[in-house]
């Protein structure tokens, strides 16, 4: 399963992406996490992702980003602030499962 994380410039989301990747590996789940900037999101989300996740600090852009994801019928969620830290991997994973159901 592919997950796309988006933040302002794709810098801080790289940290959250790493945390999510590690949390998924620990549970033996096949999850690939990529990060990108707001500007790149509309194009990147077309590349076969299961879900788009928006960083909390750009939540004022959530509506715009969600529209872009809706256009290709990909679910898009706003990351809860508690999950957006280097220690937040399990929380991110839980949020994905909340949105998509259990990951197999």
């Amino acid at each position: 399963m592919k997950v796309l994380l988006v933040c302002s410039q794709g810098m801080s989301s790289a940290i959250a992406a790493k945390a999510l990747q590690e949390a998924a590996q620990k549970k033996g789940l096949d999850v690939t996490v990529t990060e990108c900037s707001t500007q790149a999101f509309a194009e990147e989300i077309k590349n076969g992702y299961a879900i788009g996740m928006v960083a909390p600090q750009i939540r004022h852009r959530f509506d715009v980003l969600k529209q872009q994801a809706d256009a290709v019928q990909i679910p898009c969620v706003l990351i809860k602030p508690q999950g957006y830290t280097p220690l937040g991997g399990p929380k991110l994973l839980a949020q994905i499962e909340e949105a998509l159901g259990e990951i197999k």
Partner: protein, 446 residues
């Protein structure tokens, strides 16, 4: 009680304000300008190299070599950062057209057309008989005449930051015309059998004609110099942005948004970045021309003296969590967020500590950058450090970035280190309180 107030302010004030910055025209400016940042950063490094001789002994071979070739070394800068509006306009037009679901490439090209029509090409008239006669007697004049380029020439001054505001207006004009012609059906439509790429190129004919004719009338036939008019209007705005009051206001706004967990710098930057670029470009131009560098508060000033470790000068807090935390959570957070903080990425701390909606940490989060800014402002205006002339990649560690951004001034690196120590001191009492709280919580849970 505190929760209620913050939730209220978040829902009624900060999010709606932040959403304003998402208005499509503002977004287009932001996207267009951000797209030029790689150009600005890389060509800034050419500036740094060209002006290395300023900080090296004059007798070194490399110093002499660089001095000799300074003009050539700066040519890449002349076709990149020096004419950045030319690039930004394409990006802004692309983004704005895209937001209207119009063909973005046509939007970019139309905007570029409208912009360039405000800067007309010129020719150098051929030398008259009297000059040719004089030149026959003076070899120096002869050489000068033969060095003059022929054909049409484009004055480059307004293709740079000086033309930024006209660039923005030209983009809006061109794309709005494009949208109007598409929406009103005032366009050449093709039968459905025609391939869509061909149909699109025909659809762009009407807006192109309208833009071309309208802007030509203004600048060529009426002879109106829109650049000088707009420059008169924005000059007070530019000089106002370069004052301590505006610096503190900008920082306060950015920190206010961040306190709710919204990317304040990106919002404030959407509005202020055109001004910052003008300030920076005026500085680099002054440096290249050998005149006095005048402006203080271009974006690199904030980057290297205010937002050390990320918005809020949080490098101090990162050092405290990494080396002085007693609570288990604080230690774990410090370990994971210290390296990102060195690279000026602080979301791990903002959301991890958290600083967001945390009354204990919000106070130093707002005070620390404002104190740093005030000190750096006076250090700059007293001439203790050079003014910023280059844009270094923002993920460089603070002192290195400060050194590069000020045109290789080691004193700026020293100031950066002093500000880091000061930030540790300002965060310390609040950090102590919070760390203690965490420890107590951990005890209760255990």
């Amino acid at each position: 009680m505190f929760d209620k107030i913050t939730t209220f302010m978040d829902e009624k004030l900060s999010v709606p304000m932040a959403k304003l910055a998402e208005q499509r025209h503002l977004r287009a400016i932001r996207d267009g300008i951000i797209a030029t940042l790689p150009l600005i950063i890389v060509s800034s490094m050419f500036m740094v190299i060209a002006f290395l001789p300023n900080s090296m002994p004059a007798e070194w071979g490399i110093t002499k070599f660089l001095m000799l070739h300074q003009f050539k070394i700066l040519l890449p800068y002349r076709v990149s950062m020096y004419i950045m509006t030319l690039y930004a306009v394409f990006g802004m037009g692309y983004s704005l057209a895209n937001s209207y679901e119009l063909d973005p490439l046509s939007g970019g090209i139309l905007s570029e057309l409208a912009f360039l029509l405000t800067i007309l090409p010129q020719t150098i008239p051929a030398a008259g008989e009297a000059i040719t006669e004089l030149a026959a007697q003076t070899p120096e004049l002869q050489e000068y005449l033969s060095s003059l380029p022929g054909g049409f020439l484009m004055p480059m001054g307004n293709l740079g930051s000086a033309g930024m505001f006209i660039g923005i207006l030209a983009t809006f004009f061109a794309v709005e015309i494009y949208r109007f012609t598409q929406k009103s059906g005032f366009k050449i439509s093709m039968p459905p059998q025609v391939p869509s790429s061909v149909a699109r190129s025909f659809e762009a004919l009407t807006p192109t004609a309208v833009v071309l004719i309208a802007v030509s009338i203004i600048t060529i036939f009426l002879g109106i110099d829109v650049h000088s008019i707009v420059l008169k209007l924005v000059t007070p705005l530019i000089s106002a942005s370069d004052s301590l009051v505006s610096v503190l206001l900008i920082i306060f706004l950015s920190q206010f948004f961040w306190s709710f967990g919204i990317h304040g710098w990106s919002i404030v930057g959407s509005l202020a970045r055109p001004l910052w670029l003008v300030l920076l470009e005026q500085n680099t131009t002054a440096l290249v021309n050998g005149t006095e560098v005048m402006n203080t508060a271009a974006e690199p000033f904030y980057q290297w003296f205010v937002m050390i470790g990320g918005s809020g000068s949080t490098i101090g807090l990162a050092i405290l969590f990494a080396f002085f935390a007693k609570s288990a959570y604080g230690k774990a957070l410090g370990k994971t967020s210290f390296i990102p903080a060195v690279c000026n990425i602080n979301e791990p701390m903002i959301f991890g500590a958290p600083i967001v909606m945390n009354p204990m940490l919000i106070i130093p989060f707002i005070i620390s950058p404002m104190v740093n800014a005030t000190i750096a402002w006076f250090a700059t205006s007293l001439g203790l450090i050079n003014r910023v002339v280059a844009s270094a990649p923002w993920t460089l560690p603070g002192p290195i970035g400060a050194f590069l951004a000020t045109g290789n001034d080691w004193r700026a690196a020293v100031l950066s280190i002093l500000l880091i120590i000061l930030s540790v001191a300002i965060y310390y009492p609040f950090f102590k309180m919070y760390d203690k709280d965490l420890e107590v919580q951990e005890h209760e849970e255990a």
